[in-house]
């Protein structure tokens, strides 16, 4: 129960949520909600691990994971953008499909032995900073560092660049974007693909770096759904997504660690003596997601923030409405 270790591990496991959440932010900013994050993450985790096992190259695994999940996302893109079908149902179907394919192709994979993983390292000098150094810059996976760079880059991309402006326009008012010559369908296809690629990256981050291996559905254990929840808490903003992701990562780690010691704050640890009480702890991330959603939704109402206006609505050229 060392706080530094919990936070350090929290940042590491929060990186998984970070990639998935920002990926979903990209997709939703373009107006397409993809509830299939869990399925795409699982496919990413499975293909990354299996490629790393068979080729011995984790980087190749990472690449394949991103491509596989990106391709899966295109099924959702086709159904919701071209066929204009219900995004919720299609997203659910994608979760089934991704989960099913991953479990079929991943059968027997859990018995694979040790493989070479993505590297961990410390950043010289920065580790010396008190508190920040040991938590953020000591012996972290390279994916964690990529995550640090990724947050400001995606914020800048969405809010300060021309393609980012097009992205937001398509999500807020596709008809207006269309009259300005922006390709609404193409843009949506592209950002659904980006969302899929990042979900795959998140999955690969689990199986090749943060908690290596393939444990069928338990590899992701519902993190894809938590990521979709974090998007709302984050108000579709990558920087807020970062705080949410790391906080959730730390919570997950705390839940594991709190069941270890014999005593807790001087009292005998109830979670150690009654192991089945631990199930209450395991509810916490989900209960917190609901609380976070309550807070996020209230704030959205108060500040008049909210979802991209066209989120969930198919765009049909020449029809009335958004």
């Amino acid at each position: 129960m060392d706080l530094i270790i919990i936070l350090q591990a929290g940042v590491a496991s929060g990186t998984v949520l970070l990639f998935a959440t920002i990926g979903e932010i990209f997709a939703e900013r373009s107006g397409v909600m993809n509830l299939g994050v869990e399925g795409m993450m699982l496919l990413g985790a499975m293909s990354a691990f299996s490629v790393a096992v068979s080729t011995g190259n984790p980087w190749l695994g990472l690449l394949v994971a991103m491509l596989a999940a990106g391709l899966l996302s295109q099924i959702h893109a086709f159904i919701t953008i071209t066929l204009q079908a219900d995004q919720v149902v299609s997203g659910l179907a994608l979760t089934f499909l991704g989960t099913g394919i991953s479990l079929v192709l991943g059968e027997g994979l859990s018995k694979a032995g040790a493989i070479s993983l993505l590297p961990n390292f410390s950043i010289p000098l920065l580790t010396k900073i008190p508190l920040i150094g040991p938590i953020f810059f000591t012996n972290q996976s390279i994916m964690v560092y990529i995550g640090y760079l990724f947050v400001p880059l995606s914020w800048y991309y969405i809010n300060r660049t021309r393609p980012g402006m097009h992205l937001r326009a398509v999500g807020e008012h596709p008809a207006a974007a269309d009259t300005l010559g922006i390709n609404v369908y193409g843009t949506r296809y592209f950002y659904v693909f980006v969302g899929g690629v990042l979900a795959g990256l998140a999955g690969a981050t689990i199986s090749l770096a943060i908690s290596p291996g393939w444990f069928s559905e338990l590899t992701t254990a519902g993190q894809g759904w938590i990521a979709v929840g974090l998007v709302i808490f984050a108000q579709w903003d990558p920087v807020r997504a970062m705080f949410g992701s790391y906080a959730f990562g730390a919570l997950r780690r705390l839940i594991l660690d709190i069941q270890g010691p014999l005593t807790l704050f001087g009292f005998s640890n109830p979670f150690y003596y009654n192991p089945y009480w631990g199930f209450f702890l395991q509810m916490l991330p989900y209960a917190f997601t609901i609380i976070v959603l309550v807070i996020g939704s209230r704030e959205a109402v108060r500040k008049r923030l909210g979802a991209p206006a066209a989120l969930g609505l198919p765009y049909i050229r020449g029809e009335r409405g958004l």
Partner: protein, 386 residues
Amino acid sequence: MQKFFKQEWMSRLIDVMLPIFATLAALGVGAVMLILLNVNPFEAYGAMLEGAFGSANSIAETLVKATPLLLVGLGICISFRGSVINIGGEGQMIVGALLATQMGLVFTDLPGWFVIVLAMLMGFIGGAIWGGIPGYLKAYFGVNEILSTVMMNAIAVQLMNFLLRGPMIDPSQAQLDSKIPQTARLLEAFRLPRWMPTRLHLGFLLAVILAFLVYILLWRTTLGYRIRAVGKNPDAARYAGINVKRQVVLALLLSGAFAGLAGAIQVYGVNYRMITDGSASGFTGSAGFNGIVAALFGQLHPIGTIPASILFGALLVGANKMQRVVQVPSALVIALNGLVVVFVVSSDYWRRKRQRRRLAQASMDEGDDSSQPESPGQTSQTEVGS
């Protein structure tokens, strides 16, 4: 005029056939997956058909599997008609089943029929609570119900794991070292009657009767009218004096109640005890999700959901047989399921397209150009059925 009616009838038929074509298309893609796994798809699907309908016993198994799908699907009809998405069927089934099982474990000296009725009622209430919470949060805090119901599923699973390892554990298991997380078996008197020698139980009949009651509820009562009005257009409903928030809560609450009943019936009709492997699907068999598919397949109509859930029950039972005969991973069923939904939801495109054309045709015939077709953005949201 006669010609017009004939066309109407034909296009209705095509609407009904579309999901069936979609299923065939999904099975076609599934065949490609089977070939990739080095399995002869004809052999595999033959085994599937035989497993689902080959004998009286397999038909009974199909109906047993269809029962929870139908009950969850009925709840889905209510909530989706009210434009509220309920993905919490898994959790609602679990909580309903936990409450119902507890009745059978506590009141061992009461008459059988009384305990069964009480248990069904508690299953209904348990599911209603688990569905009502997300409903309340959506109505009064604006919390997205899709996410909150998913989270409630995860919470229910841990609640089940806790209760079955702790307070509700079978006393005889509690003394053993293995400590299998399960409750004691229900007394014989508390079990739903079965059509011997199969496992088909009274719950299926109950579910079919409830399907007709849900139809009456949705189309012949004020409550159903209000729920549908809110689902079609919440602003118009509010101007008409309907308490929109209350209908949202009620839609999710009722939806959860039917899932909770499905859980109770699963225990009292099939398993006779609760046992957990740590996951939700270990108890529900993913009926909480598959019921959504069945309801969409039945075009969100309670009566249509009856054949739809039998079809899906057949798919599940048949897939088990297929897995045994041709040795494919069991998870293939999950993928097949996903494919079916993908194709069913895609096929809706053609239904809406034809509907639009029909409306345009009708307004042209009447020479009335003011009646525009409904904005498809709104119709497609949850309004899959007509």
